[in-house]
Symmetry: C2
Subunit: 412 residues, 2 copies
């Protein structure tokens, strides 16, 4: 089995952090000057590792192994949130680089190919997973031409400034890359709470989000008797309570649901609200359960509408994301590697957040590995992972990569 170089891994991660560092965190949003500098640095490090490197027309940095035959595609993203953590995305990319180096340095694994990618804009500065979607042919030129960040900065202009505009955009070749492995920090507290060090991801959960609007009648809170009120706020409270109760009864082990936004109009302590709205979001790794959740809350809304007196409407918001199951064979290799490197110290778990693997999974088998997030924190400067866990995660990836590619080559 290949041995990774933990010090080299940490050094590269810290060098990458320096591009946009703010304390322990990083500000390196897509296609800013500092992001482009970091891509050029990454491309150089890939070349030093013996990979053939392209920065394509959308800014994806892709390093391809010189080994013949199928190569495991590994990667994640190096762009960050406006106030990002240093490992979110970056760790998965540098893992790919270190695994490629470790395999090539060991004569027993030098023939096993690993390609490494940093996908542009996973954090959504310009759009949804622009880089990985482009790699699957899902981003027409017009979408890039129209894409702007919240400040009105255009993606096309930013690509031109970086010198990437006009370059061809790389496209996935499933024959060359029959599988994908993305390592990532967990972004939650499940590993930490369970005392385990490695998560073998079973699925990326599906997400459905709805806006519920309540149309009642605004009235004086002192002079409007209870029986004739059409209180949009109380209708919301009652429905939210019943949805929570219903979901509790049919939840799976990993279901989460959130009503994170509630607004009453006009929002005064002595006025009966005439209008209210709320957002309901739920996530689950199982599409059948997602269907049951949607049916359950729609039934409660229908029941409330039949009872009156407030009229409730449902509007789906954003994309309906179908759960992405991780490939069973790839999971088995990662689990075997985890058991070898951290016996008893790993678990199967779903990913509650979305990742590029969700996109890549449209065409080839995909897999993910998680390491613990300290305090479950992410999308914050204070996001962090213990160095031992960072190193262990990479070692498991290296072992898994060797097992996976050997399997493809019939040497498994």
């Amino acid at each position: 089995m290949p041995r990774i170089n933990g010090q080299r891994l940490l050094d590269d991660l810290k060098t990458l952090r320096a591009y946009g560092a703010t304390g322990n965190g990083v500000v390196r949003t897509s296609l800013t000057d500092i992001d482009i500098e970091s891509r050029n640095w990454l491309a150089e490090r890939m070349k030093e590792a013996g990979l053939a490197v392209t920065i394509d027309g959308i800014g994806n940095v892709i390093g391809r192994s010189p080994a013949s035959g199928p190569a495991l595609l590994m990667g994640s993203h190096t762009d960050t949130q406006p106030e990002g953590g240093w490992l979110d995305g970056a760790m998965g990319v540098i893992y790919g680089l270190e695994v490629a180096r470790a395999l090539s340095e060991d004569p027993k694994t030098a023939g096993l190919g690993v390609d490494v990618a940093s996908w542009m804009d996973e954090e959504g500065t310009f759009g949804i997973c622009m880089g990985s979607r482009s790699f699957l042919g899902q981003v027409p030129d017009g979408e890039i031409a129209r894409a702007k960040d919240v400040d009105g900065r255009g993606m096309a202009e930013s690509l031109a400034k970086a010198g990437y505009a006009g370059r061809p955009r790389d496209r996935l070749d499933p024959k060359r890359n029959p599988g994908y492995l993305e390592a990532h920090i967990e972004q939650g507290g499940h590993l930490e709470n369970s005392g385990k060090r490695i998560g073998v991801v079973t699925a990326i959960v599906g997400i459905r989000t709805f806006r519920l609007a309540f149309e009642g009648a605004q009235n004086h809170a002192g002079t409007t008797p209870m029986p004739i009120r059409k209180d949009a706020g109380m209708a919301l409270v009652r429905l939210a309570y019943r949805i929570d109760e219903a979901f509790e009864a049919i939840k799976g082990e990993r279901t989460v649901w959130t009503m994170g936004r509630i607004a009453l109009h006009p929002g005064s302590h002595s006025i009966v609200p005439g209008f209210a709205d709320m957002f309901l979001q739920f996530r689950d790794p199982d599409e059948g359960r997602m269907e049951r959740f949607e049916a359950a809350f729609r039934a409660l809304v229908a029941e409330a509408n039949a009872a009156g007196p407030v009229a409730i409407s449902i509007e789906p918001k954003g994309e309906k994301i179908t759960p992405t199951p991780m490939d069973e064979a790839l999971q088995a290799h990662i689990a075997a590697a985890a058991e070898a490197d951290a016996p008893g110290n790993w678990i199967h778990m779903p990913s509650g957040a979305g990742h590029d693997a969700m996109i890549i999974g449209d065409e080839i088998p995909v897999s993910m590995l998680f390491v613990p997030s300290i305090g479950g924190v992410s999308h914050d400067f204070s996001e962090d992972t213990a160095e031992d866990d960072i190193i262990l995660g990479c070692q498991v990836c290296a072992d898994a990569a060797a097992r996976i590619v050997r399997g493809w080559k019939g040497g498994g």
Copy 2:
């Protein structure tokens, strides 16, 4: 029994509306130029009715009857909300004027005194019921000196501009005025819904308002499992639901409760809220029931705090207003007058909103009479009452005033 002049009553109301008219509604907030003009007009109309008129140091307009012996004090306010209805307040003042005229014009009632008042600023432009409180000696000079409207306009400067500053402030003499009658639009839909034309008010309800704050922990809605969440928003929904349930079980015939403001922080559809707050207000004519309501919701908060994981705190907001019972003897006279003028067409009912009568009730017996509000609307330009109802209400007041003053004089 005296006969009022319905046409003169309506003419006066419409002339008063012209001061600040906006369509059917009025903008005549306290101590604006148009409010001062309307007070000067009102003082002139009172003089023409044979009353001795004072506009005092806080702008109260008070017209006193030339009749000897005790006089019924009648009144309300002529200032309006920023977007006010034409009858809210104004009707009660012009009723007093018309009743004083009607009694003085009929030789059989000419000896029965009615004093008429327009109390400054019932609508709270500068403070809480400034005029009626001043009349009871409850407003120190310093409060006037500090009082400002939302735009920073000072009450003292406005009084000086009007020429009222430096005048003495009138003070209630309970010997001269052993009772008070305030007529008002209902500001709710109870009369209209019950098909009755006159409400004899039994009490002005008490009001208690509380802010409840929920301290949880903000988290990622995708990666934070349900069992470890500290969701401030769901804690709010559950408590609000249980308060509503508990209040429903112990409510009186006239209890109202309102949770008109709810806010979640940060208020995003994919973030578990770390903080939430809401306002709870309840009103009832019975102080004992108010106590039971407060005890019930405090018990639910204590129970929720014991269960955790979200910490809930309670903060009383604004003034705790004790219910003001209307005087039984005055009610009986008004009821007798209502039965004479509108047999079977009147009811007893509480007032859900506050009025100057609440203040005057601190020193002398008080009473109120309601006429229907079309559609239950008030504090809106569209507020209105059928002209027949306006005239009927004034006739009942005239009859009631005659009965009340005769009673005091031993002639009843």
